[in-house]
């Protein structure tokens, strides 16, 4: 297999110069001698249009790549389409990209329901569906969906990391979990089960759930305290996370409190709950926060700032969306570099799943991107951070999730 591919790559390089259509056994779509066409969907309009900056970041990033001569002599043509965060629209736009525009592959399509809607289709068409913008765990399922791969750490990985930390630093702790009764919340239970393994029942005294439609989680918080737990995990979206922080503080209860990084926003969670009530809460991070003074003179972030200054001069430098975009685009460029001159769909997928300890300037020091034919979770490491009363402060070493 290896042999044939490298042979094809060499043949492809020779043929590229002579403009004779290559007799590929592999599927070569959307790639010419001068261009690689890739597709992307994101909400530029609608309820989630705040994510639109990611698409602007991508467009600017590939403009810079092209200004510098492109990759393997080819310019990157990113076709970025608006889906308004509506899954039916995503299906339509992705079909346009695949069937009409004939893109080589899809890159960083955004949204969990949106990607769910297209996953079956793109896998049946064997179109690489790379580095999605969603934190769900299900994108790492090579057995059923060999053409789909995520990027950021999944909620499940995050929970594995908390479990690892608890086992190491608080052996014998009694853990109570509060989770939102949906995919997002349940990923944390799954992650805890991976992390604690056979000791799950020993550590976790009780799980409590709530509905997104519930008014408050006060009664759950009271019951959690009654279990005698000294460590708690809150896997809840911002509104409920803020309620939980407030209630725990009101009850004068002082457990070690782990909080999903979905709800680590200072503006949406900590400030409404009261910054002084949240002191000591632990969450996790994998990327550098553009507002954190720690990175004011960081080489990686300076690289990003220089890019922003030249290509998106009007962009908001506190918007994490641009940082995210820079990180995921850098990952894609490494994959394309590894492709050599063979940009067939098969080789693209092969290279996307053979990234080794890739340094990304916008990720926390020590966190790298690695994939393999059995590991479709590119980022599996995170670092913990603690709320000091004013800001999140990183501490401890980089922790890697368990399992693949």
């Amino acid at each position: 297999m290896m042999k044939r591919r490298s042979l094809l790559a060499t043949a492809g390089a020779a043929l590229a110069a002579s403009r004779i259509p290559a007799a590929h056994a592999a599927t070569l779509v959307g790639v010419t001698d001068t261009e690689i066409k890739i597709g992307h969907t994101i909400p530029y309009s609608g309820p989630a249009s705040a994510y639109g900056v990611i698409g602007q970041g991508h467009t600017a990033f590939f403009k810079r790549v092209n200004d510098k001569g492109g990759i393997a002599g080819r310019k990157i043509n990113l076709i970025s389409l608006d889906d308004g965060y509506a899954p039916p629209k995503t299906v339509e736009q992705v079909r346009r990209l695949v069937e009409q525009d004939q893109v080589a592959f899809l890159f960083n399509t955004l949204g969990t329901p949106n990607n769910t809607a297209i996953q079956k289709y793109v896998n049946s068409k064997k179109v690489p569906h790379l580095f999605l913008s969603t934190g769900a765990d299900k994108w790492g399922d090579p057995e059923h969906f060999p053409w789909t791969i995520g990027w950021q750490p999944s909620y499940r990985t995050e929970a594995q990391i908390y479990a690892k930390y608890i086992m190491k630093n608080r052996p014998g702790a009694k853990v109570a979990v509060l989770y939102q009764n949906d995919d997002f919340g349940k990923d944390y239970i799954t992650g805890f089960k991976d992390g604690f393994g056979k000791d799950y029942a020993k550590y976790v005294v009780k799980e409590f759930s709530f509905e997104v439609t519930d008014a408050t989680i006060d009664s759950q918080a009271v019951s959690m305290q009654a279990t005698g737990a000294d460590v708690i995990l809150t896997a809840a979206t911002p509104k409920f996370a803020a309620q939980m922080i407030r209630k725990v503080s009101d009850m004068d209860w002082k457990p070690l409190h782990f909080l999903t990084n979905v709800s680590s926003s200072v503006g949406a969670v900590i400030t409404p709950a009261g910054p002084e009530r949240a002191v000591g809460i632990i969450t996790s991070a994998y990327g550098k926060d553009p507002t954190d003074p720690t990175w004011a003179n960081d080489a990686g972030m300076n690289e990003w700032r220089a890019f922003m200054k030249e290509y998106i001069p009007t962009g908001d430098l506190t918007d994490g969306g641009y940082v995210f975009s820079y990180g995921v685009c850098t990952t894609l460029m490494q994959m394309l570099k590894q492709c050599g001159t063979d940009f067939s769909r098969e080789n693209v997928m092969k290279q996307a799943t053979s990234l080794k300890d890739l340094y990304i300037p916008t990720l926390l020091p020590g966190i790298t991107v690695s994939t393999s034919p059995t590991n479709f979770h590119p980022i599996r490491q995170m670092q913990l951070q603690k709320w000091t009363g004013k800001t999140w402060e990183l501490f401890g070493e980089i922790i890697e999730g368990t399992g693949a």
């Binding site: 530029y44 639109g52 009409q100 995919d183």
Partner: protein, 317 residues
């Protein structure tokens, strides 16, 4: 230009709609046209209620969601073929529409608009509700398989689905045309324009209003079913307020109280957002808004009025 209003026109239009896309459209374009058929049924459903009967609904997306989920659950959990789910969806949606029509009797104008709006707001959350999760798939939704053409017909999946939706659509459009042309249609319009006079003439307003609601819900629900089969996926967040407003936009742009307007409104809501996206990535919403204002300014009676103007016919509806 009498052509557009002639009796033969709907038949010619239908024949063209069957033949031309099959000959010339790619699978992707067929998929878009299938969605136009789906949306035109939904817009027609709303038009019967709001355009013809004067009951403003900002919540028809809820019926669309019920239809979509009925089909999804019957296909996914009970293994029913896609076509067999349509009657269930029609009956269920008509029932729900009738029930919602009852309190709507007491509400008029803005209050009814607000009540139906509440329905649209509540729908995604109800679909996520824990008790139904085994059926609805919760937030994750339900993924469906795409039907193949039956009887070994030499058609692609998209071609077949287009024809199937077109057939259902043609049936519903014929039904609506017959309804609004006859006694019932006159009664519906009379209630809209002069409720007191209508009642004095012996029209049972309560009965007509609730049945129109049921009819509207049935049309919209069937559209939802066809939409679910076409998209192959249902999830709660696809059925929020924006969907209901989209139908409303389609109805107004196409032209209230107009059967043909529903098709034009559907073309608008399917294609104009794409055009807006082409024009500006930074603010597609603003471009869409401007286009909408331009349309309303130039054609206050909707796209259907363009045909009336062209054919020089006075509005009779």
């Amino acid at each position: 230009m009498q052509f557009f209003t002639s009796r033969a026109f709907p038949w010619l239009f239908l024949a063209a709609a069957v033949v031309l896309p099959l000959l010339f459209a790619s699978d992707y374009r067929l998929f878009q046209l299938t969605m136009v058929v789906v949306y035109s049924i939904a817009v027609l459903g709303l038009n019967l209620l709001t355009g013809y009967n004067g009951q403003v609904s900002l919540g028809n997306g809820a019926f669309y969601a019920i239809g979509a989920y009925t089909t999804a659950i019957l296909m996914d959990k009970l293994g029913l073929p896609y076509w067999a789910t349509l009657p269930f969806s029609a009956v269920i949606c008509a029932g729900v529409g009738f029930l919602i029509g009852l309190p709507a009797l007491r509400l008029g104008g803005m209050y009814l608009a607000l009540t139906t709006f509440a329905l649209a707001v509540a729908t995604p959350q109800l679909l996520k509700y824990k008790a139904f999760e085994n059926y609805t798939g919760g937030v994750q939704g339900v993924v469906l398989d795409k039907p193949d053409a039956p009887f070994g017909l030499p058609l692609s999946q998209d071609q077949w689905l287009y024809l199937f939706c077109l057939a259902v659509g043609a049936l519903l459009f014929a039904l609506a045309m017959n309804l609004v042309r006859g006694r019932i249609g006159r009664a519906m319009r009379a209630i809209r324009d002069q409720p007191l006079a209508a009642e004095a003439m012996g029209i049972d307003i309560a009965m007509f209003k609730t049945r129109t609601f049921a009819l509207s819900a049935m049309f919209t629900g069937v559209a939802g079913s066809l939409g679910a089969i076409t998209i192959q996926f249902v999830a709660p967040d696809a059925f929020g307020v924006p969907l209901s407003l989209t139908f409303f936009v389609g109805m107004v742009v196409g032209g209230g109280a107009s059967i043909g307007g529903a098709v034009m409104g559907a073309l608008f809501i399917q294609f104009i957002p794409n055009i807006a996206d082409e024009i500006s990535k930074a603010a597609p919403g603003a471009v869409y808004g401007l286009l909408l204002i331009a349309f309303m300014f130039l054609l206050p009676g909707g796209l259907a009025s363009l045909i009336r103007i062209l054919s020089g016919k006075k509005r009779t509806a």
